[in-house]
Symmetry: C2
């Protein structure tokens, strides 16, 4: 695969590299006195210099002859020199940050390349939204090697997204320079049972010679896992048990071991490496979804490396898992993932292998971060107006919008309520009996039952799904969010119609985001004007705003960790048991719409 994630293609600069290695032309930069983390042979090598020119490594060895008058000589002072870190599976949108701001926060932590799946923006803005992110990436030093979202919509027929992606769109996207493969194929039933749509999407990826990435979350490693891998899907980040990760590696699938903000898989899945004597070349460490607060307080892959060490993974093995292993997974190891002649000079300085503290980051030969801060400017990127104007809710929303009519004459009605479980992705279908007042069904704070509405917001269709949720524990007010997986319609949950209308309208006015209101006041609001998913503000500011939102949740009575995360999954109709989309209540065990009111 020819790729475009380096300053210049190797074939254009090979002569210069040879001349520098041969001592006939001075290097741009020489690093001395470092301890090389050699991920090719899994050794630490002392006493080697690294000579860099044209953004690539010309020599690893004695670079005395490569130093000229204008060569920048960096004294590593005994620090460890590692290849730049690569995250093989990441959704930038989860950070709520723009690509620019995401790059600014992760690069100083040692991340030099990521394989993003822009699944969220694609659900809202389609191929054009993906193109915006790709375009924004071009101005950042972070190498964003995109995978094209494979499952938009996630559950066709049960919700309305802003866009739909099929084999044709995939085939086209595979021709883009920045597109290295297919995003996580979540539709594993489609693969297992030979759905044409899912199979064709993978087929178009393979035909283009690119990498299909996976999402196989079943705790089943027999016929299902085999069928899934046999389709040509090369990696998967959904193992939550060590045995699942190990079986994937054994079947030639890259096991991407995840440690995200909300999904802490590593404690368990690290055992695939530590409790078995296996070749670990098929294992990588990845983040998947990370919140601004985690990025700010803990870091990115450096944090996950520290977690790996806590789980007793050997430091060099762990570093291979964020360098050469992901590079080999994506067939890009000829360009990235090791400190070797010809490779891009993407280099991380580490204070020690115990702390994995990153002190300096070089990308394409340029120092881009030092001591935890970017030292290079990234030009601002402005999203087009259609991308920051994504709230297309047809009808004006008022308190009356949230009326739920009861059957004529009923005094009390039993409904299907969605019961959420703190910090879990699955939920439960609970039948609860609600009182009727003035012919209208009411929420019930005593039973911890709230109204929930999902408004289609992409194409002014005016469709709206109505239901009830249980388990948030709030005592007053309302919440709204346009981060509402995967269609990202406008989700509103609340204790009274007035606050629900205020929450909804607050987001409509600010172009999307997350809000908590109570008694006619906005207690917290995270504006996410880019597609209703992201904000171009710096991570420090976003982390602060999100913290205030969490406080607002607590103020109205919810003690759940990251409750907006749990709320955002209410419409995710690919997970059990009961979900609410803009089209209505979905039984996700049978994949059929069900009525709100239980027939008795």
């Amino acid at each position: 695969m020819i790729n475009h994630f380096c300053k210049k293609p190797l074939w254009d600069v090979a002569r210069t590299l040879s001349a520098v290695a041969g001592g006939r032309t001075p290097a741009d930069t020489v690093i001395r006195n470092g301890r090389l983390v050699n991920v090719c042979t899994a050794e630490i090598q002392d006493g080697l210099d690294i000579a860099i020119v044209e953004g690539r490594i010309a020599l690893v060895g004695d670079a005395s002859a490569c130093i000229g008058e204008n060569t920048k000589v960096i004294d590593a002072k005994g620090q460890y020199i590692s290849p730049g870190f690569l995250d093989a599976h990441i959704h930038i949108e989860s950070s709520m940050l723009s690509v620019t701001e995401y790059a600014k926060v992760v690069v100083p932590h040692g991340t030099t390349g990521i394989y993003p799946d822009p699944h969220e923006i694609c659900n809202v803005l389609g191929v054009d939204g993906v193109k915006c992110m790709v375009e924004e990436s071009r101005s950042t030093p972070l190498k964003c090697m995109y995978t094209m979202p494979s499952c938009v919509p996630a559950v066709p027929g049960f919700e309305d997204t802003g866009s739909a992606i099929g084999p044709k769109e995939i085939a086209e996207a595979m021709q883009w320079d920045e597109m290295v493969g297919l995003g996580e194929m979540m539709n594993f039933p489609g693969i297992l049972y030979c759905g044409d749509h899912a199979q064709d999407i993978v087929a178009e990826t393979l035909k283009a010679g690119k990498i299909a990435t996976g999402h196989y979350s079943l705790p089943e490693t027999g016929s299902g896992l085999n069928a899934y891998i046999a389709s040509g899907i090369r990696c998967c980040h959904e193992s939550t048990r060590a045995e699942d990760a190990l079986e994937k590696m054994r079947r030639g699938m890259y096991a991407l071991l995840r440690e995200g903000s909300a999904w802490h898989d590593l404690q368990e899945v690290a055992k695939a490496i530590t409790e078995h004597t296996v070749d670990s070349r098929f294992a990588c460490l990845i983040s998947d979804d990370t919140h601004p607060h985690t990025l700010l307080s803990k870091g990115h892959l450096d944090h996950i490396l520290r977690r790996a060490l806590e789980e007793k993974i050997d430091p060099i093995t762990a570093l291979q898992m964020v360098t050469i292993n992901p590079a080999q997974c994506f067939h890009m190891d000829h360009e990235l993932g090791s400190i070797a002649p010809g490779k891009c000079a993407d280099i991380v300085f580490l204070e020690s292998l115990e702390t994995m503290k990153v002190t300096r980051v070089i990308i394409d030969g340029d120092i881009v971060a030092e001591n935890g801060k970017m030292v290079t400017e990234i030009p601002a990127y402005t999203y087009p107006a259609w991308a920051t104007n994504s709230m297309h809710v047809r009808d004006a929303i008022t308190p009356e919008t949230f009326r739920v009519e009861a059957p004529a004459g009923a005094q009390a009605v039993t409904v299907r309520a969605i019961e959420v479980i703190p910090a879990k992705v699955n939920n439960l279908e609970k039948h609860v009996t609600l009182q009727v007042r003035d012919g209208l069904l009411q929420g019930d704070l005593e039973q911890d039952v709230l109204k929930a509405f999902v408004f289609e917001r992409h194409h002014d269709t005016g469709t709206v799904g109505k239901g009830f949720v249980k388990g948030f524990g709030i005592r007053k007010g309302a919440m709204a969010s346009t981060v509402a997986h995967d269609a990202h319609n406008l989700l509103v949950v609340g204790s009274n119609d007035e606050d629900m209308a205020l929450a909804a309208n607050t987001l409509i006015q600010c172009g999307g985001g997350m809000a908590v209101v109570s008694e006619g006041k906005v207690l917290g609001c995270v504006p996410l004007p880019i597609a209703g998913l992201m904000n171009a503000k710096p991570v420090e500011e976003m982390s602060e705003i999100v913290s205030r939102l969490e406080e607002a949740w607590a103020q109205i009575g919810c003690s759940m960790p990251s409750p907006f995360m749990t709320m955002a999954l209410i419409p995710l109709a690919c997970l059990p048991e009961l979900r609410l989309t803009n089209r209505g209540l979905v039984d996700c065990t049978k994949f059929q719409f069900v009525p709100l009111i239980v027939e008795e």
Copy 2:
């Protein structure tokens, strides 16, 4: 990279694989009771079945549900089941066999794929000759994944080859389906010192997204090796010291550890793995050049695996070095090199890991060899007349042709003679004083000095190089060969002009080959009608004919091992010190022509 070395592309059969893995469609073949050599995780796994359909692996696990009425069930009876062996660097022409016959002998030894560099035929017949071999390969089950010869001629300006390859030809060849990369870039000075020709040839390969293979034989691992690797060359089989192989691996270059018929490197280079605690993913085992006798008596990669075990390489590591490692080297690990779902069903049954005895070979799901014999027919391939009619020597050769005139009036003359060294590729320049008779310089059996002539044989140019060689020890007769590296002109060496003429004409009549004659009789002749390099006869017959030739060498007094190999290097003007091409004597330390007669 999309490749064409499987029965059907994965995207065409993925649905069927899923259906078989899911137990809804019966497999074509199921292997049970084997011990899986899992090269992904470096484990032996017992109790796993392998289900195969459409030439690919659908499932590794419990295949009970995949067995239908027509499923062929193979009981492995506790044997080891390994991925098919891959040889990452091989010249088929060295075996003197056609591709068909080469396949017939190596496949029963477990070889399912090779990466041939058809360098020899390209020197004689150019791109069209390479195309013939590629075409012949299509009818064999052996996967021949070609690399395009990079150095034709080997030493431009010092010899006349049948053809010349430049960046344009490389760019074109990279578009062929069967061409996966560039053949060994022997012109390392061209790379190190930025010669446009060599650099452009590598550049065209990289531009096409294909793999450039190397040949870096210097015992220097500093600036030279770095410069060479920095050009984008990915592997090298020329290490003869463990430290050279290890340094290549450390610099991200695949070290192809060689054990050929004549080059026994493994005893030394295996120490790169066995005497250092290193990740061995960058190491492969390869054969480079193998004679028919070695193939017949010892085998191919199975023999090299046994040699690896003798050198204390762990058996699973050794098997990785002929399976997943070469597949990763060529970015083909998504298709080949492991027994995993979706991969080509290229499978070898091994009696034990101690003997590495191959009992059964499956390629693309079909049993192709059992108990050391092919069990499938390969249709005969007929080379076109121009390929079997490659002896284009302009002038009739008679005893008079071999006259070497002395300076007028000289009684004795000191000449530059080429002294060969048994079983070594290098030679020496020796100055010897020869008697003059009738104005003509004579060989001298007392000093072990013979006449040597090289006739251009490709384009009827009539050019001829004349010299003297020393060291063969023959007492009578003459030898001729069209296997005369790398231009493969007609080389004749002998003790008298009559026998030299007979040897030369014997080869002209049979379309090329190797001959030994004495006292007017042909003692041994190996006809190699295909380009003067190969013969379509079976290996048993070829081995027999070559044995008779070796006996003939002994009959006339030569006790060297494989003397025709040593003789074939006399014209190889890229090796030190003195060589004879059709253009004359070449000082290969200074790369200049030198006169036969030493000026005193």
